[in-house]
């Protein structure tokens, strides 16, 4: 439930960002596809629990960043497809910028002495 661990929120945020990015890159996609993509790009981060993606997707949908509808997969399987909305695209840009800034700061912070 909610009170499992403090880092869950961070993880949820990261996961959401990765999902948005995935949808931007690959276009409309079902949950399994998003999970697979994140696993491939992030290595082992999501290797155990694909399931944690679904609450994150619901949250994004409620916030209006993504929309969902039932469709048919490449090999003719019924699946729920998610796609990025305009708000989601904007949100992704904003988040990406923030992410770059944060990583920049952190990178400088951890850079070896004397090189800055």
């Amino acid at each position: 439930m909610k009170d499992t661990e403090p880092k869950a929120d961070v993880w949820q945020g990261t996961l959401a960002l990765m999902a948005l990015k995935t949808l931007e890159t690959l276009g409309p996609l079902h949950g399994y596809g998003i999970a697979r993509r994140i696993e491939q790009t992030s290595g082992d981060l999501l290797s155990v629990n694909y399931g944690t993606l679904y609450p994150a997707l619901l949250k994004l949908e409620q916030e209006g960043y993504i929309a969902s509808e039932w469709g048919v997969s490449d090999n003719n399987r019924k699946a729920k497809f998610y796609k990025l909305t305009r708000a989601g695209r904007k949100q992704l840009e904003k988040q990406a910028r923030e992410w770059e800034r944060t990583t920049g700061i952190i990178a400088r912070f951890f850079a070896p002495e004397g090189r800055s």
Binding site: M1, N49, Y50, G51, Y54, L58, K59, R77, K80
Partner: protein
């Protein structure tokens, strides 16, 4: 922000249509697994491995569903809704428990609501004056007499007003009767005399005309008056041109300067009709004023009190003779107005609080018995991962649900009971604003708060231990036929003991009040009340300024009344017996030194006419009573009562002895000519005091009023009209203020104890009934729990009697423990109520043992019913359960 709002709205929406959404999620997860399996198959896994891998990687489906559900809706709300639904279902499942619990709580909450609505109307609701919370009464206190609500003298009032800075305004007033002449018959009405500034302090404007001017309170100033709205409408037909008109009051002419608005009323008892300016009385020793003050905004009562203390201690130094022991005490006006009724209300408030506590304990005990059987359910929930918080929440929701239902029903009971209560209290003594009692927003709020507190209180008594079950133990214990742990049993025993002892405390109080009332009822007043009519007169002071004029009027009237058909005899008395008291008289006994250098002998005194003792049927112990021959010119004579004779002449030779009373008789020397039986002069509850009877026909202290007592042959009430007319025909300037039968006077003095007793007996009976229900519930539960054991016992040859005794013993031991504690508590509590219990010792052993036996009897009956059920067990049936 808007995103969050949007999400919030969607989540609220998520509370609905849950099943469809759940289904959709399940489908989505299913398709997820299917897609994964296909991928795995393509990667060359065997079908089994492919599926296993897909499911493993997805993670716990139920946990995902739970997380999604939490995200979809609002978890707190949903849990509450679920708990409410579940709680309601649990309560519906066990209707007899629910009915008993709701009814119990309704009685407890209803009783509190009813009493509170009276307290609210009388004590809490602001008085009908602007910013009335700043209005106070300033009583004089007298360390010598111990009085804390004494009247102040005019010079003291002036010093208080001049010396204090805490008050925006201060005024003094007194209530007096005023004899209104005019019309067919003079009338005695209530009137307020107040200093200018009185209405300004109250911030009330007259509806017509103006208030008093400062110069109008000076002695000899022209007489002005304000009318109450009632007097204006009844006496002056509500005429607008009434200002400037005159009327005769107390033998003087008054000019009307204004009319007060409707509803304005200041005197707590009789409704006053006239307001006149108070004339300054320069005597510092003469206390007759009540002082009204309006505190400045922001000034605390304590600060004003400190200031008054400084002023009074200064006055004590300046005027040691009159003011040495005089202080001042500030009381909120709203509190002072209620007076005597306040104690009674507060007592009843605490009594109903105890009833509610008993009701709570009762429901807690019943719920605890029930929750023991539910222990298994809770344990299973806990084992399945329900947190302690969730379990607690669920149990509290249930108890609060019960309490709210009880509160709702209690409100219904109260709305009906309040009317009854008001009618009853109105009989006891005048309580201002009692008639304003109704259920308003505050009362509703009180009931709601009380219900919530009640629910949480009795809920947490059980929920806290129940919500943290020891999984191992409970599961092990309940693997056999569910018997519960020793903890629950002990808790329940304590609850029942508490309940029984509280009930006994109330019962002791009720028993003692009842006994006191019975003692009072059986107290012989010392005279016969049957067929006796009493008529109160007030004599205008100027017209009847001396003994000869007064006795002339009364002799004339007595002769005419005695001649009326149906009248056996008639006489006069200044202070009617049972009338609350009489003045005391200092005197010297001839040939004996005074008891102290500066103090004479002292006794109550009363003034009576010839034939008084005969008319009242007060027995003569020795000598004779006054006759017509004991007139102005004859030697001064007195009659004393038994107690006076024994106190002052212990040798039994009072007859013929002489006392001297300054100013009485011809020479101040009076001879004892008779000794009569004792009479309850003050009240039935107070023992007779030494009393000396003076003869109204001989010179003595001034007595501006007299009561005519008439012994009739038939129903005295039938003579009321005739006697009123008779008095009128003797002198139309003398008002008849009251005509009552002596039986009415007697029952009037018993009204307050009767009302108190009735209420307390009612609440104590309620408490007893609740305790019995609680005991029944707990014993009955135990029997259910022990069915199996009882079955074995019977199978092994136990008799029915043995089984009954086995069960009874449990109820009895709880009751006896509760009785011992309750008796100790009852002794302590009733000691506080001593002043309410005339004629009874607070620890009266007879009463206490009677109520204890009653309690034990009821308790035995309450445990016998389940015991009998236990003894009717068919051993075979219970054993088959195994």
């Amino acid at each position: 922000m808007t995103r969050q709002l949007r999400a919030g709205v969607l989540r609220l929406g998520g509370l609905f249509n849950r099943e469809r959404r759940d289904r959709e999620l399940a489908e989505e997860l299913e398709s997820h697994v299917a897609l994964h399996v296909e991928d795995n198959l393509r990667a060359g896994m065997t079908p089994e491995a492919a599926r296993r891998d897909a499911v493993l990687k997805l993670g716990g489906v139920e946990s995902i569903k739970e997380q999604v559900r939490d995200r979809r809706g609002v978890p707190g709300l949903e849990h509450l809704a679920r708990d409410l639904r579940f709680g309601a279902r649990m309560l519906r499942k066990d209707p007899s428990f629910t009915a008993i619990a709701v009814l119990t709580l309704a009685l407890g909450i209803g009783a509190n609501t009813a009493i509170f609505s009276v307290v609210n109307a009388v004590l809490l609701r602001p008085l009908p004056f602007p910013q009335s919370e700043r209005l106070v009464l300033i009583w004089a206190t007298n360390a010598e007499s111990g009085r804390t609500d004494d009247v102040a003298s005019y010079p003291d009032f002036e010093a208080w007003r001049a010396g204090s800075k805490s008050f925006e305004n201060m005024a003094a007033f007194t209530t007096r009767g005023m004899i209104l002449a005019g019309g067919d018959q003079a009338e005695d009405v209530a009137a307020v005399q107040a200093t200018p500034g009185f209405f300004e302090t109250l911030k009330i404007q007259p509806a017509l005309g103006r208030t008093f001017r400062p110069e109008e309170s000076e002695a000899g100033a022209s007489h002005v008056a304000l009318l109450s709205d009632g007097a204006w409408k009844s006496r002056f037909a509500g005429r607008v041109d009434v200002v400037g008109r005159t009327f005769r009051g107390n033998e003087e002419t008054y000019t009307i300067i204004g009319v007060m608005p409707p509803g304005f009323k200041f005197s707590p008892n009789e409704v006053e009709q006239i307001y006149t300016p108070l004339v300054r009385d320069p005597s510092r020793g003469h206390g007759f004023l009540r002082v009204l003050g309006r505190l400045r905004p922001g000034t605390q009562t304590a600060a004003a009190q400190a200031e008054m203390d400084v002023i009074t201690s200064r006055l004590a130094k300046e005027y040691p003779k009159t003011n040495e022991r005089v202080g001042a005490r500030i009381v909120l006006l709203v509190t002072a107005m209620v007076g005597k009724g306040r104690t009674g209300l507060l007592i009843f408030l605490s009594v109903v609080a105890v009833v509610l506590v008993i009701a709570c304990i009762n429901v807690a005990a019943l719920m605890s018995a029930r929750s023991a059987t539910r222990q298994r359910e809770l344990t299973v929930r806990s084992a399945l991962g329900a947190s302690r918080k969730r379990l607690l929440q669920q149990l509290l929701t249930e108890s609060t649900l019960l309490a709210l239902a009880g509160g709702l029903l209690g409100l219904l009971l109260a709305s009906w009971g309040t009317r009854l209560l008001v009618a009853l209290l109105a009989q006891s003594f005048p309580i201002p604003r009692l008639e304003n009692t109704h259920i308003d927003g505050w009362v509703l709020l009180f009931t709601l708060a009380l219900s919530l507190v009640t629910g949480i209180l009795f809920g947490s008594v059980l929920a806290v231990p129940a919500a943290s079950p020891d999984l191992n133990e409970v599961l092990r214990e309940s693997s056999r036929t569910a018997t519960e742990g020793a903890g629950g049993r002990r808790a329940r025993s304590l609850l029942v003991i508490a309940e029984v002892s509280l009930a006994l405390i109330l019962l002791s109080g009720a028993g003692l009040l009842l006994k006191s009332l019975l003692v009072l009822r059986n107290t012989a007043p010392g005279f016969s009340t049957e067929n006796l009519l009493t008529v109160d007169f007030s004599l205008p002071k100027n017209k009847f300024s001396n003994t000869i004029e007064r006795s002339g009027f009364f002799t004339n009237m007595l002769a005419r009344v005695a001649a009326l058909p149906g009248v056996r005899s008639a006489a006069l008395v200044a202070d009617l017996p049972l009338g609350g008291g009489s003045d005391s008289l200092g005197f010297h006994i001839a040939g004996r030194p005074d008891p102290a250098p500066d103090g004479a002998f002292s006794a109550s005194f009363n003034i009576v006419s010839a034939g008084y003792f005969h008319t009242m049927a007060i027995p003569l112990r020795a000598g004779r009573e006054f006759t017509e021959r004991d007139s102005v010119g004859a030697p001064g004579v007195i009659v004393v009562n038994d107690t006076a004779a024994r106190t002052f002449w212990p040798g039994g030779d009072a007859l013929g002895k002489q006392i001297t009373v300054p100013g009485a008789g011809d020479s101040g020397t009076l001879t004892v000519v008779g000794v009569t039986g004792d009479v309850r002069q003050r009240s039935l509850g107070s023992a007779p005091q030494p009393e000396i009877f003076l003869n109204y026909a001989q010179p003595g202290p001034a007595w501006p009023w007299l009561v005519l007592v008439v012994r009739t042959t038939g129903d005295p009430a039938a003579l009321t009209g005739a006697i009123r007319n008779m008095a009128q025909s003797v002198d139309r300037n003398v008002p008849v203020s009251r005509v009552r039968t002596m039986d009415d006077v007697l029952s009037g003095t018993l009204a307050q104890p009767r009302v108190y007793t009735l209420l307390l007996v009612f609440f104590a009976t309620l408490a007893l009934a609740l305790a019995a229900v609680g005991l029944y519930g707990v014993v009955s539960y135990t029997v259910t729990q022990r069915m199996h054991e009882l079955g074995i016992r019977m199978a092994l040859g136990a008799e029915r009697g043995d089984v009954v005794w086995l069960v009874l013993r449990q109820g009895l031991s709880l009751t006896l423990t509760g009785t011992v504690i309750g008796l100790a508590g009852g002794l302590a509590v009733t000691r506080v109520l001593t002043h309410l219990l005339p004629g009874v010792q607070p620890g009266d052993p007879l009463t206490l043992s009677a109520v204890a036996l009653l309690l034990i009897g009821v308790a035995l009956a309450a445990s016998y019913l389940p015991a009998r059920r236990g003894s009717r067990v068919e051993p075979v049936v219970t054993l088959r359960y195994e």
